[in-house]
Symmetry: D2
Subunit: 254 residues, 4 copies
């Protein structure tokens, strides 16, 4: 078992999830990754960590499937030891979409992946952490958690609700030693798997050029703040922080 314990990452694509994994593995955590699809990509993330001398494991997981999250947590605990940090990195941003173009199914899926999945993770994880008197839950969030906007009906409702769920979890479990943190990533991340797929390779490259150097958020740099928050002493915990590129407008000015 790892000296630093286990870092579980729900949603480990090539962006924030993978870089947070690498960052924690470098410090001695075993990282347990999962993502919905792309076994090869997942394996690549695991291999990179192992080649650098770290400890990692991974599996494909559909977070909306019944019992999938619950079983993954139990399996990771049984195989690799206590989860000391969990990173919730799932979302369902699907670009701008007016009300007429947003189906009930999409509205429900956004909620299942973004809000319900965190609730389910908390239901299985919090009792384990409470018993141990410590643990950290880091939740990747986004601009739409702070305010709705045209074309964001499904995404904003799901992720805005999740922000208040995080506040509720913090209120119940903070005093019992569990650190819940809500990290608002308020800018576009340099991530081929998510933004790159959303825009397509050509528009992604154009967008990157338009923003200029460091105008897209570097997921490796984002991971530094995740790691810092997970190490904070319990007398000085962050519940919420924002992150954005120097050249980007914050959500309240945009």
């Amino acid at each position: 078992m790892s000296a630093e314990g286990v870092c579980l990452i729900l949603g480990a694509g090539s962006g924030i999830g993978a870089h947070v994994a690498t960052r924690f593995a470098r410090e001695g955590y075993h990282v347990a990754l999962c993502r919905r699809t792309d076994q090869a990509g997942l394996q690549r993330s695991v291999d990179i960590i192992k080649e650098a001398g770290g400890s990692a494991s991974g599996m494909l997981l559909d977070a909306t499937a019944p019992d999938a999250i619950e079983e993954f947590v139990i399996q990771v605990e049984n195989t690799h030891g206590p989860i000391t940090t969990a990173v919730f990195n799932l979302g369902a941003q699907s670009g701008d979409r007016g009300l007429a173009e947003t189906s009930l199914k999409q509205f429900e899926l956004a909620w299942r992946m973004t809000s319900l999945a965190l609730f389910r993770l908390a239901k299985v994880l919090m009792p384990l952490m409470v018993e141990r008197g410590s643990g950290t839950l880091l939740v990747t969030s986004a601009t739409a958690a702070a305010r709705g906007n045209a074309g964001q009906h499904a995404h904003a409702a799901a992720i805005g609700g999740r922000r208040l769920l995080c506040q509720s979890l913090n209120a119940e479990f903070g005093p019992r030693g569990i650190h819940v943190a809500h990290i608002i990533v308020d800018g576009a991340v340099n991530s081929p798997d998510t933004l790159g797929k959303l825009l397509g390779p050509e528009r992604f490259a154009q967008y990157r050029d338009m923003l200029g150097p460091d105008g897209l958020m570097d997921p490796a740099e984002i991971a530094e703040t995740y790691y810092h928050i997970a190490q904070q002493h319990r007398s000085a915990w962050t519940f919420e922080t924002d992150l954005r590129p120097f050249s980007g407008k914050p959500w309240w000015n945009d």
Copy 2:
């Protein structure tokens, strides 16, 4: 058909819903009420309005049933004419409940009644209002829409998400002439049907005594602000307002 048009009220118990109905009926609106249970109570609300010379209709409706909201809107429009104001008054506050005591089913039900139901109402209503170039959607909200808290996991996630859904609807439909307003009722309402049932008659009476005169919110007075907002000129619309008793602490001081 009514001169002022039709005011549809989703969630017309004996509190805010019934008093908003009475207020709008007094000004000449036909009010179309629905509530989940209690045919006798619903009939009483309709009768009170009719006896006062107003125009009202009502039906029982389970807002979580497939197509129920959608069919109600169509039926009201066909029978009574264009809905000029819709009041969304559904919620699923079920008192303080820790994470362990909150089931997945409860978490989902809260979302279905609070957030999905509004999305469904908007899906059917917005196109009708856009075609007419006007219309008002008033959403009753609560303290938990502003911040989570221990014991509020399901409620805060649902209603906090709905607040951002309202912002999204406002962003898309405001410029097309539809007035969406989010009304944060940040205090306990003097309502036998909801608070009274939650606490039971004895504790409800004790609580009322403890708060002193006007310490509980009078739903008839709340209805005045609903009516005012629905009459605002489109050059000076309220999107969000809070309401609380003079003696109550606002959510940010409580």
Copy 3:
């Protein structure tokens, strides 16, 4: 003495202040106006009210002068009776101005007119209202009270601080029967005296054309909401509301 009491208005230019005055006078309040300059404009506002059968008085007043606000309040109370509603309508918006272009003097003046002046009004008015067990203080606020922005250093610091001063006043005096309300006017007002002067007549006309019908906020319509809030029953008070034109973006989307 007026049946409805006295409505004192600090900052009664031709926009919100003058229209709020007219609205309250129509309902039987004596309105006591003041503005910094333009005796003729002030007299015109008083005359309009009197010609419509209302009761009004006015004086020029520099709100930054020592004792000016304090003496005005005392004088109005002595001459016209108890102030039942006070409308604080002062501000110091001076357009976009970078840090280098904002002098210490301008930064201080913004604070003196916007924040300190309200504190001074409260210091003299609250004890009078507390003794009577009732009273209303309506504070006109703006976009910059919700968030800072480039070019808004002086304005945002002053008015953002005032928002929290209003929350503090509400916390101390709400339970003693005094209604404090903070009204965020989150759009451009059709007001020749303020916006018109800021832009100049030509750009003002162009701007109005660009925004289209009802794209500028009608101060007479804004006054309707001021009047409504002042009449709210103490079991259902608004502390904060926003107001903007249907076609305008709210501050969190702009």
Copy 4:
């Protein structure tokens, strides 16, 4: 000259200021301290750093005196080299104080120390940092920056305004490479100089006992987050973070 540059600290008492100084000095920064009074205490802070092998200097400074901040910045730059990080750690919290007990002088002093002093620092510092294309300004903030409360009239108005000033500075200077961060210290800090003096030694000890282990915030741990934020890559900057002890209620639940 120091390899890491100079960290200037306005307000270096024995709490956050002194610990941030120690933290930055440990990494190779020269730290330039100032505080209003207590030459012996200031010298102690400087000596501790020097004895640990660091580089530090200090002077007494009344931040409300004309030109004091401006001259300090120039002098530090001339003597020790470019200021790469400035920590603004001034405030004027003076405990609960009702409106009647808050004098105009106190209201003004709070503003001068909290809001105007930051504006003055920015006026002299930003042009220097803009010329160099980089720099960091960390602002220590508090609960009252997020919301007013009874007894907080002067403090909340000053520090709430300063929060929006920070947003304005960020909006103007972020895109020019200057990192402005607003750190909400939302709990009581284990600091004999500020909280200890406010409460007196006996009540301070009682309060600490009541809160239990780690119930007061450890300023050395707070300093870790200051240091982290100052090192963030410009593609992933924090503008605002909160910090509180695990057992403390966040401002929105308190």
